[in-house]
C-alpha cells in the first residue's frame, strides 16, 4: 500500500454513503460516535450486510458472520477499531 490513503473512519463513512445509496448525505456528515443502526442513521440488518460486502472489498478482509453484531457495527468508531485490528 504505497499511495496515501485516507484514515479508516473517513473511508468507512464514504463506503456507508456509497454502498447504501444514502442520497443527499455526505460522508463528513456522519459523526464517528453516532449510532448507525436502529436510531441515528436508522440503518437495518440488510444495510449492515451490504456494508460488510463493501468493507470486505475495500479493506481486503473476510468478515465472519459471527463478527457481524451490534458491538462492532454500532458506530463508525467501533467499526474502525475492528477493521484496524484486522488489517
Amino acid at each position: 500500500m504505497s499511495e496515501a490513503i485516507a484514515a479508516t473512519p473517513d473511508r468507512i463513512k464514504r463506503l456507508i454513503v456509497e454502498s447504501l445509496n444514502l442520497e443527499g448525505m455526505k460522508p463528513e456528515m456522519i459523526e464517528d460516535e453516532a449510532p448507525l443502526f436502529g436510531e441515528g442513521l436508522g440503518l437495518d440488518s440488510v444495510d449492515a450486510l451490504e456494508l460488510v460486502v463493501a468493507l470486505e472489498k475495500e479493506f481486503g478482509i473476510r468478515i465472519k458472520s459471527q463478527e457481524i453484531g451490534r458491538e462492532v457495527f454500532s458506530s463508525v468508531s467501533t467499526l474502525s477499531q475492528f477493521i484496524e485490528g484486522r488489517t
Binding site: L20, N21, L22, E23, G24, V46, D47, L49, E50, V53, E56, K57, R62
Partner: protein, 400 residues
C-alpha cells in the same frame, strides 16, 4: 350467487407518464410514446430494434419518498407508485389494509438487479454479491413492498406467466374476494425493460424493428417492448356500499387456458383449446359473443401472436361480426399491464383513438382494429391476452 367484484381505482405508470389520465390521453390520441434504448453496452445487434416504451426518468417523486425507495428495484418503485395512485383514485387511505390481498404479475421480474448480481458473481466473485440487490431481485419484491407500504396483511401472490400474467393476477385477486378470503385486493402487473432484456428479446426475433408496432397489420413484424406498472383496486359491492365509494367497472368474469402445442417462446396452433377457454369465460359472464360491445385485445404486432388471437376470436364469433377491436399495445407496448389499464379506462368510458401503426389489414386475419371514430359507451368489454409459451387469459368488464 357470488358477490360481484368491482374495480374501484386505477393507477398506472409507463412510457405515457404517471397516472391513468396520461394513459387515457395517449390512447385517445393514438400515440405511442417511445424512446431510444441505451445500446452502449453492446448487447444489441447493430441492425436490431432501437426503441422501446420506456418510463421517462424522474416520475416517482410525489409517490415514493427517497427514504423508502432507497433500496428498491425499479419494478418495486413502479409497482408501489401505481398502487398508491390506484388507492388514491379509489379513495383508500393507503395504509391499514388489514386482510387486503396483493396479487402482482411480472413477466421478467427485477431485471436490473438480476443483471447486476450476475455480473458481480461472474466478474468479481460470489463474495461480491450485494444482499440489497438480491433481496430486491426476487419476483415477489414488488408485491412485498406494496404490502409493507400499505400494511396489507392478506394473501400476497406474485404471478409469472408472461403476457397473460396481468389478467391471471386480476382473476386470482378477484377469487380472494368471491371466496371471502379477503375483503379487498390490489391486483396488477409490473415489468421493467432493461437494455439487456431488450437486446435479448430482439435476438429472439420478438420485437419490431420499426418505430411502431402494427397489431393485426399485414406488415406487422413484432411487438414494441414496454415497461411500467398498472394496478387496480378490487372491492365487493357490499364493501363499497359500506364505505360509500364508487366503481370504475365491474369484473364480470375471468378465465385462463393453455395451448400445449406452443414452444416456450412462441405461439402454437391450439386454436380450439384457446377458443374453448374464451367461450367458458364469456359464459361465466352470462354472455354470448354477440353481447360483447368492445374487445380490448392483447394483440401486439407479433406475427404469430396476432394470428393466433385473430383465429381464436374468429373461432368463438363464428360467422357473427366481431365488435370493435382495439389493440392498445400499439400505444402502451408489451409488458407492464398497459392492456389492463386500457381496458378499465375503456369500460369507464374513456375515448379510444386509432391504433397507431395500423394501416393495412392482414387478409389472413380479417381484423381491422378500431379506427378512432367515436364509440358508444360499452356495456361489456372483453379483454384478451395470449402469452408466448402457451398461456392465455381473458377478463370481461362491465358497467359498475
Amino acid at each position: 350467487m357470488k358477490e360481484p367484484v368491482l374495480l374501484t381505482g386505477l393507477g398506472t405508470i409507463g412510457a405515457w407518464g404517471p397516472g391513468s389520465d396520461r394513459l387515457a390521453e395517449a390512447l385517445a390520441r393514438g400515440e405511442a410514446p417511445t424512446a431510444e434504448v441505451d445500446r452502449a453496452a453492446g448487447y444489441h445487434l447493430p441492425e436490431g430494434a432501437a426503441r422501446a416504451g420506456l418510463v421517462p426518468p424522474g416520475q416517482f417523486g410525489c409517490w415514493l419518498s427517497s427514504g423508502e425507495s432507497r433500496r428498491m428495484s425499479p419494478p418495486s418503485k413502479l409497482a408501489l407508485a401505481a398502487s398508491r395512485m390506484a388507492m388514491r383514485c379509489a379513495g383508500w387511505s393507503g395504509t391499514g389494509e388489514e386482510g387486503t390481498a396483493v396479487v402482482i404479475s411480472t413477466a421478467f421480474g427485477p431485471s436490473t438487479n438480476t443483471e447486476i448480481l450476475l455480473k458481480q458473481i461472474l466478474n468479481e466473485g460470489p463474495e461480491a454479491a450485494s444482499p440489497t440487490l438480491f433481496t430486491e431481485s426476487v419476483a415477489n419484491a414488488p408485491a412485498a413492498q406494496i404490502a409493507i407500504a400499505c400494511q396489507a396483511t392478506g394473501p400476497s401472490l406474485t404471478v409469472s406467466q408472461r403476457e397473460a400474467g396481468p389478467l391471471i393476477a386480476l382473476g386470482r385477486a378477484a377469487g380472494e374476494l368471491t371466496t371471502g378470503r379477503s375483503p379487498r385486493a390490489l391486483a396488477g402487473a409490473v415489468d421493467e425493460m432493461t437494455p439487456l432484456l431488450h437486446a435479448l428479446l430482439d435476438r429472439f426475433g420478438a420485437l419490431t424493428r420499426e418505430e411502431v408496432a402494427r397489431p393485426f397489420d399485414r406488415r406487422r413484424s413484432g411487438f414494441l417492448a414496454g415497461e411500467g406498472a398498472t394496478v387496480v383496486t378490487l372491492e365487493t359491492a357490499t364493501g363499497l356500499k359500506e364505505r360509500g365509494g364508487r366503481a370504475l367497472a365491474r369484473l364480470l368474469a375471468w378465465g385462463n387456458a393453455f395451448d400445449p402445442t406452443a414452444p416456450p417462446t412462441g405461439w402454437g396452433t391450439g386454436v380450439e383449446a384457446l377458443a374453448r377457454g374464451l367461450r367458458k369465460t364469456l359464459s361465466r359472464a352470462g354472455l354470448r359473443p354477440e353481447d360483447v360491445d368492445l374487445v380490448v385485445s392483447g394483440a401486439s404486432g407479433s406475427r404469430g401472436g396476432d394470428r393466433l388471437e385473430a383465429r381464436v376470436l374468429r373461432s368463438v364469433w363464428g360467422d357473427s361480426p366481431l365488435p370493435p377491436v382495439t389493440a392498445p399495445k400499439a400505444v402502451t407496448g408489451e409488458y407492464g399491464g398497459g392492456v389492463l389499464g386500457a381496458a378499465v379506462l375503456a369500460a369507464a368510458g374513456s375515448p379510444l383513438g386509432a391504433t397507431p401503426g395500423f394501416a393495412e389489414p392482414d387478409p389472413e386475419l380479417g381484423i381491422a382494429p378500431h379506427d378512432g371514430s367515436p364509440l358508444p359507451l360499452p356495456a361489456t368489454v372483453l379483454v384478451t391476452s395470449l402469452a408466448a409459451g402457451g398461456a392465455a387469459a381473458w377478463a370481461v368488464l362491465g358497467r359498475p
